[in-house]
Structure formats: structure tokens, C-alpha cells
Symmetry: C2
Subunit: 194 residues, 2 copies
DNA sequence: TCACAACATGAATAATGATTCATGTTTCAC
DNA sequence: GTGAAACATGAATCATTATTCATGTTGTGA
């Protein structure tokens, strides 16, 4: 029951199952996805899944955690050698949207986690927000951005990115991401006031 | 099977069940809520529910639609006699957050609809976005706000509001909404640039 | 090559809970 | 007052599926 693989073969099986779960959960959603669907996709027996995971929720939560590491990594890379927070803001948003475009299933899983694996979901966004806030505070101290509560701003900016991803990437698979980023960034930089 | 009530009694029962469903779905979530839970809360027999609703999904979708009417109404009222779009933006955001604070269950339902009743969910936000965009375009023509794609902006602003609601209202039941609104509004008005 | 740990199988189990339906009860138009 | 339509009941049905487990198979260190 839920053992960490000790051989290469075991590691491979575990991965095989995780990848299958990603596909199945991502396309059918948690409720409609059955263990049978996942193991069929993974080409293993149902019992095999229970060697590596405690159950349906645990494998889902694991995907969310994996996704957390991945997203943080993608954004961090994109933002790494930007000079100036505003530039980082633009690049980060663009990287995020492109990432959603590339792995829409994974992103759906993160959002569904809000209801299926609340702890994992909260963890995902809380971690992200903490880092985000620190970046903003640093920029604020450097006088790059207006003063103001950076916790609130971090969450506002995350929400903005999520909504754009949902509407312009998941729903319309063919909108011009660059255009969306440009418009959003103008708002982030200068606000709405004429 | 799913009949529109023709008497006062019928109307009352249907409502009774809807209110019970609101409570039960709102606190336990769709998956964990059973028909038995709902009818117990409503003090009716399980079969009664099926007189007025086709099934578990339909009653859920109905709640989402109801919620749509309600939110639009609340925001419209709050924004009604503001002069200037920016003022409306501030008041609208505040009204939204206070609404989430007052009926957290209902708002949870709308968000869960993304996975449980996608059509209702999409309808909810698409309608909202349409109205929002029109307001922004009007303000733009009046020279009140900077020029820019208002469809993108509308979704960005909706996402921002959603995230703030989730983090500062649903998670922290006691943050100072006024403070959050002030910070967010500063960003909406002037952006981040120093 | 043996022994043993790790891995793999898939049919059986067992719980759950949405939906139906045969049987009442209430309302109200006439 | 009566009959028919509307409403209400809740126990039985029925399908679905997560999880277990008794039984194999594979790989490897000594």
C-alpha cells in the first residue's frame, strides 16, 4: 500500500501511471475518471496503481504538487534575467499563458484541485504568492513600483493571469497570446486612468 | 419528471428544495452532497426532488443561473449612480467582495460549476463579461480610460476580483475589505509603474 | 542457481447513492 | 361535494467503481 519504488522498473511504472492519470484526469475531470480508465491508459492492472498510490485522491494530489514544481520552474526561468520588475511581469505573464497553452490538461487539474484536493491547491497558490510578493516588495524598495500592499497585489495579479488563461487560452485555442499579454501588461503598468 | 410547479404549494416546495440544495452543495461540495442530504435539509422525500428537477446536475445548474441573476443585480445596483467608470470600478469591486462575504456558499457553487455544470458556468461569466466590456468601451470612447482592448481588460478585472474574493474573503474571513479594495483599486487606476 | 524482495495481476468485494415507481394525499374548479 | 390534476412519499432498484487480495512473475545479490 503506497510504497516508494525501489527499482528502475518501479520508478518507470509509477511514472507511467502518473502520466496516464494526467491525461485521464485532465480530459475527463476527477469525477468521471475511473481507476480503470487510468490503468487502461497506463496499460497496467488496476491493482498496480495501489502499489504506488494510496488511492484516487492521492494520485490527484501528487499531480498537483508536480504541477506546482513545474509552474514555479517555468516562470522562474522566464523571469530570471529580466531587468526590472515590470519587464519580469510581462515575461512572466506570457510564459504562464504559453505554458497553459502547452499543457491545458495539467492546468485544468490544478483548478479542479480547489474542490478535490483543497490542501494541495492552497499549497500551490500560497507558495506561489509568497515568492511573488517578495519580488514585488523588493521592487518596491528599489523604487521601481508604486508603494502598496504587495500581498494583495500578488493575488490580484495571479487572478488576472488565471482568468486570461482560462478565457483566451483554454476556451479559444487560437487567440494571439502576444496581443493579450500586451493589453494586460499595459493595464498592469499604467492602470486604466486616461 | 421535472415539471414546472402549477400551484403555490408546488412553487414553495421547489424553492424549499433549492434553498436546501444551496446550503448542502455550498458546504459539502457537489460530490459529497447526496440527494438524501438535500431532501433531509429540505424536509421532503427524495422523490419530491425529482418532481421539480431532472436530477442532481440540473438542480445545481439552476443554482448557478439563479446566482448569475443575483450577482449581476448586486453589482449593477452598486455601480448604478457612480459618476465615472473608475469610481464604478471601485464600487463594483467592493460590492462583489461584500457579496462573497455574505453568501460564501453561493460563490463556491459558481466556481465549482466550472467542473460540474460547464455550460452554466460559461454562461455566467460570458454574460458578465459582455456587460463589463460594454461599460469599459463606453468609458473609453468618453476618454475616461486609456485606449485598449476591452474584452481582455474585462476578463483581467474579473479574474482579479475572483482571486481577491477567494484569498481575502473565503480564506480569511476577517480581512478588512476596504483595505483590500483600496490597494487593488490603486493598481487598477494607476498600475504598478512608479 | 537459489532465495527473496520487489513488482504485477485482475477478478471479487462491498459500499455508495442516484433514480424510479407504486401508492397515497392535497387542492381546487365546477 | 366530487373528481381529476397536482403534489408527495420513501423503500427498492440498479449501476457504478474504488479498493483489496490471493496468486503469479521478475530481477538481483550472494
Amino acid at each position: 500500500m503506497a510504497v516508494r519504488p525501489k527499482t528502475t522498473r518501479g520508478q518507470a511504472r509509477r511514472d507511467q501511471i502518473l502520466r496516464a492519470a494526467e491525461t485521464v484526469f485532465g480530459t475527463m475531470g476527477y469525477a468521471d475518471a475511473s481507476i480503470a480508465d487510468i490503468t487502461r491508459e497506463a496499460r497496467t492492472a488496476q491493482g498496480t496503481l495501489y502499489i504506488y498510490f494510496r488511492g484516487k485522491d492521492e494520485i490527484f494530489a501528487e499531480l498537483v504538487a508536480e504541477m506546482g514544481r513545474l509552474t514555479r520552474d517555468v516562470i522562474a526561468r522566464a523571469v530570471a534575467k529580466c531587468d526590472g520588475r515590470l519587464e519580469a511581469e510581462r515575461r512572466g505573464l506570457e510564459a504562464f499563458l504559453r505554458f497553459v497553452a502547452e499543457r491545458p490538461e495539467l492546468y485544468r487539474i490544478v483548478e479542479e484541485a480547489r474542490f478535490v484536493a483543497p490542501a494541495a491547491y492552497r499549497d500551490y497558490f500560497t507558495r506561489f504568492a509568497r515568492a511573488y510578493r517578495q519580488q514585488l516588495e523588493r521592487a518596491q524598495r528599489a523604487g521601481e513600483i508604486r508603494p502598496g500592499n504587495c500581498e494583495v497585489r500578488a493575488w490580484a495579479l495571479m487572478g488576472l493571469a488565471k482568468a486570461l488563461g482560462e478565457r483566451f487560452v483554454l476556451w479559444d485555442r487560437d487567440t494571439d497570446i502576444e496581443e493579450v499579454v500586451a493589453v494586460a501588461f499595459d493595464m498592469i503598468e499604467h492602470g486604466l486612468a486616461a
